[in-house]
């Protein structure tokens, strides 16, 4: 950042010597090479954003890495360097391993289901008719609801004593007063359904935009050649959509790993520890017990796993996106 204070007279002398030479420098259209002053201009404009970024994200991130190797107490008392203790605790603890596993399981199931359903919704809604505009707007409603509110409403609907869900399940022959949150399997189903209700529109929106941007010519050519709708989808629409699918899947995966509200409100990790995703644990350890070192170590482990996972995902999907591979 210091570079902005380039010595002014230096540039002047350079300019002066160039003028004395009486010709412009190389360059097809007589462009002069950028002087120090000109080259540093973009940095000046970027500086405020860079400073904010450094303060708000880079510094805390570095601090998390630092804290993960220490046992600092946030309320006075001297912390010291403890090497890998926090990490050993974070990766050897059976509850933590379980929490990581079910977090991945939840993300995989939820994202795959949301992708399929989102695509299924996007296909009919992509055609730009008036009815579709209304449909798309309606579809976006769940996406606009705060996750915490959605979870609270779901909790009321699921109440076995006066909730709608139990009542209508009863109509279809399920036992009366069924407690969906009291059994691990049904609690998971509920959590995944809530997540799908909330986030499928987000995926549908990205894929709709993708579908609307596809060129029409290949489809027309295929129609002339007498392709069936399935063949059109399989060989034209889907391959062209792969980049959009990749973007949607990656964004949604990152988001899904950050899920917190719905679990906290609906199950609190129960029954037993069956829905105790890693974020609930990090929240408890870090922000209720204030065991900062362990919470940071958990965060770092989580980050490492994620940063390995995302490029891997991109490669898997990206390979399909490369026309050479098709």
């Amino acid at each position: 950042m210091k570079a902005t204070a380039a010595p002014l007279d230096a540039t002047l002398t350079v300019d002066a010597s160039r003028r004395a030479a009486g010709r412009t420098t190389v360059g097809a259209r007589g462009r002069k090479p950028l002087t120090w002053k000109k080259r540093s201009t973009p940095w000046v404009y970027m500086a405020p954003a860079m400073v904010v970024l450094l303060l708000m994200t880079v510094a805390p991130t570095i601090f998390i890495f630092y804290s993960a190797f220490r046992n600092d107490k946030i309320l006075g008392g001297v912390g010291k360097f403890v090497g890998l203790d926090n990490f050993i605790e974070a990766v050897t603890n059976a509850s933590v391993q379980h929490a990581f596993l079910i977090t991945f399981g939840f993300v995989a199931v939820a994202v795959i289901l949301e992708m399929i359903l989102g695509f299924a919704l996007a296909l009919p809604l992509a055609a730009q008719t008036r009815a579709n505009k209304v449909g798309a707007a309606l579809m976006l409603l769940p996406f606009a609801v705060t996750p915490a509110v959605a979870a609270m409403v779901f909790k009321q609907l699921l109440n076995p004593n006066y909730g709608w869900v139990g009542y209508y399940l009863g109509v279809f022959g399920f036992p009366k007063g069924i407690d969906l949150l009291g059994d691990p399997t049904s609690a998971w189903i509920v959590l995944v359904i809530l997540d799908m209700w909330q986030w499928t529109p987000f995926i549908a929106l990205i894929l709709m935009a993708g579908l609307q941007s596809l060129p029409g010519e290949p489809r027309e050519a295929a129609m002339v050649d007498g392709a069936t709708p399935w063949q059109m989808f399989r060989h034209i629409t889907f391959p062209a959509m792969v980049p959009f699918i990749a973007i949607a899947a990656v964004l949604r995966t990152i988001q899904a790993f950050k899920t917190f509200d719905s679990f906290k409100i609906l199950t609190g990790g129960g029954p037993g520890e069956s829905t105790e995703i890693i974020n609930l644990g990090i929240f408890r350890v870090g922000l209720q017990s204030f065991n900062v070192g362990l919470a940071c170590a958990l965060g770092v482990v989580f980050l490492i796993i994620l940063s390995l996972l995302i490029p891997f995902m991109l490669r898997i999907i990206g390979r399909r996106a490369d026309p050479e591979e098709m």
């Binding site: 004593n161 990790g269 870090g286």
Partner: protein, 496 residues
């Protein structure tokens, strides 16, 4: 998460209003994105010069500030009651009392980050019992203020002897060098000299005390038909149950699922509420209701513990509690009872019946007992920030707010007093008189929590065990053994 321990289910009771607070707190959590937020908060900590405000002798001639700042809860400790005293305070002291209210989770984070950064912004901070062991080094010991006559003129006398002994020792009396220790005689009349001589000090004044009490539908218990039926069925009179065996029997008697009526409630969802239910039972079966002993070892995997959890699991699976009890919390059970779904319940605050419960009336009684009594309790206290610039005035504010006269005023707004004289003086025309009577009796027998810096973690493991036993996922003895092993490891890693 003693949240609602108090006033209300922060995750549910009183519905919408509560909900909006909860969303605010969740939004805050989201904004901070947990770990990133920690990092940011701690960066500040790191930069702040770590000056531990020393406590010096109170200066009785300290300049009067124009404003004192206090950090307080929302409904959990009846913030409206405290807020109603602000104009009176201004009139008496000529000082503005500025109160910031935060819902439970956000409050806990704010309290800890204020102390972590040695901030002097808040003079008075509300402290929940589970946080105190970790915070006590940052709180100003009050003994020298209490013993300084100049700071306690006339009616301002703090009169600590008037606090209910068990409440006072459990909430406010600590040995700062070894916060796990408890005052040896928790029934003695509180006396500052005796407390100091035993190596302890006073770190706050209890303001809102919460304890498990039983609420029941007195209209059902007094109904002639019900009485006759009960007599015919069991050969004895229908009375409010005093023992756990009677409690289970009466719960079975009232249960008629076809009429949408169940006997009672359990809070067996995973959370501090389940731990508290279990603590109460454990103590009444003769076990150590604090869950851990003073050497930092878990004390619940015992024959008494198994017996208590076995009773609880049987009750949860008996069909005498509403469906969904194994995912219920403070809010859900208050709602169940309030909507007329159950004949009895055990909760931590006064309850109201919805309008559709025709002719319903509520009675209160101490929770049933086994070999002993030990309803779970926990209290909020007002403490003095060690870094405050106005300690002498802040102390006077604390002692005024928690004095008998002010506590009596606040009972009009449902505050749960902490002084014996206030309970004794509640007039029979007070609509909540029966509730306060029960509350006072229960507080005198209450059992608090172990004083651990990572109590939240311990409570979580116990709650998981209670939930697993209640759903039948594992046997009570297996559940307790597994929780005990995990808690041992937790306590070891916390340095006990």
């Amino acid at each position: 998460m003693k949240i609602i321990q108090v006033g209300l289910g922060a995750w549910g009771a009183r519905g919408i209003r509560k909900g909006s607070e909860m969303i605010r707190s969740l939004e805050r959590i989201k904004r901070s994105r947990v770990v990133a937020g920690l990092g940011a908060a701690l960066t500040v900590t790191l930069l702040a010069t770590a000056c531990t405000g020393g406590s010096s002798a109170p200066n009785t001639a300290a300049a009067k500030p124009t404003e004192l700042r206090m950090l307080y809860t929302t409904d959990e400790a009846n913030s409206a009651a405290v807020a109603s005293l602000v104009p009176q305070f201004k009139e008496k002291f000529g000082i503005d009392l500025k109160i910031d209210n935060q819902p439970y989770d956000a409050l806990q984070q704010k309290v800890f980050s204020e102390f972590a950064s040695s901030s002097s912004y808040y003079d008075i901070v509300v402290v929940d019992t589970p946080w105190a062991p970790a915070l006590v080094q940052n709180l100003e010991p009050l003994s020298q203020y209490i013993q300084n006559d100049a700071l306690n003129p006339g009616t301002l006398q703090s009169n600590v002897g008037d606090f209910i002994p068990k409440v006072f020792y459990d909430t406010a009396v600590y040995n700062a060098d070894s916060p796990i220790k408890r005052y040896p005689d928790p029934t003695a009349k509180p006396d500052v000299s005796a407390i100091k001589n035993a190596g302890f000090d006073v770190y706050g004044m209890p303001i809102q005390s919460n304890v498990a009490v039983m609420a029941y539908r007195s209209d059902l218990f007094n109904d002639p038909t019900q009485k006759a039926n009960f007599k015919a069925k069991y050969g004895k009179d229908l009375t409010v149950p005093k023992t756990w065996d009677d409690y289970a029997q009466v719960a079975g008697f009232f249960t008629q699922p076809d009429k949408k009526l169940y006997g009672t409630t359990v809070m067996a969802g995973v959370g501090d509420w389940a731990t508290d239910d279990f603590k109460t039972l454990l103590a009444s079966y003769g076990g150590d209701g604090t869950l851990a002993d003073e050497s930092g070892k878990p004390a619940f995997n015992t024959p008494e513990g198994v017996e208590a959890l076995d009773y609880y699991a049987k009750l949860a699976q008996s069909g005498h509690v509403p469906p969904g009890s194994t995912s219920a919390d403070w809010g859900t059970t208050a709602e169940s009872f309030g909507s007329g779904l159950t004949a009895m319940t055990i909760n931590y605050h006064d309850l109201k019946l919805a309008d559709n419960v025709k002719g319903g009336t509520i009675g209160y009684a101490p929770v049933p007992t086994g070999k002993a009594a030990g309803p779970h309790f926990g209290t909020w206290m007002l403490s003095l920030n060690k870094n405050s610039k106005n300690k002498e005035w802040a102390y006077q504010a604390i002692s005024w707010l928690t004095a008998a006269e002010q506590q009596t005023t606040m009972t009009a707004k449902s505050l749960h007093p902490s002084r014996a004289s206030v309970f004794a003086g509640i007039k029979s025309d007070n609509p909540l008189a029966p509730f306060y009577d029960t509350l006072g009796k229960s507080l005198a027998e209450g059992v608090g929590r172990a004083r651990l810096t990572n109590y939240t973690e311990v409570s979580h493991e116990v709650a998981v065990a209670v939930n697993n036993a209640a759903t039948g996922a594992s046997s009570p003895s297996d559940a307790l053994k597994s929780a005990s092993d995990k808690v041992s490891a937790l306590l070891k890693s916390a340095g006990y």
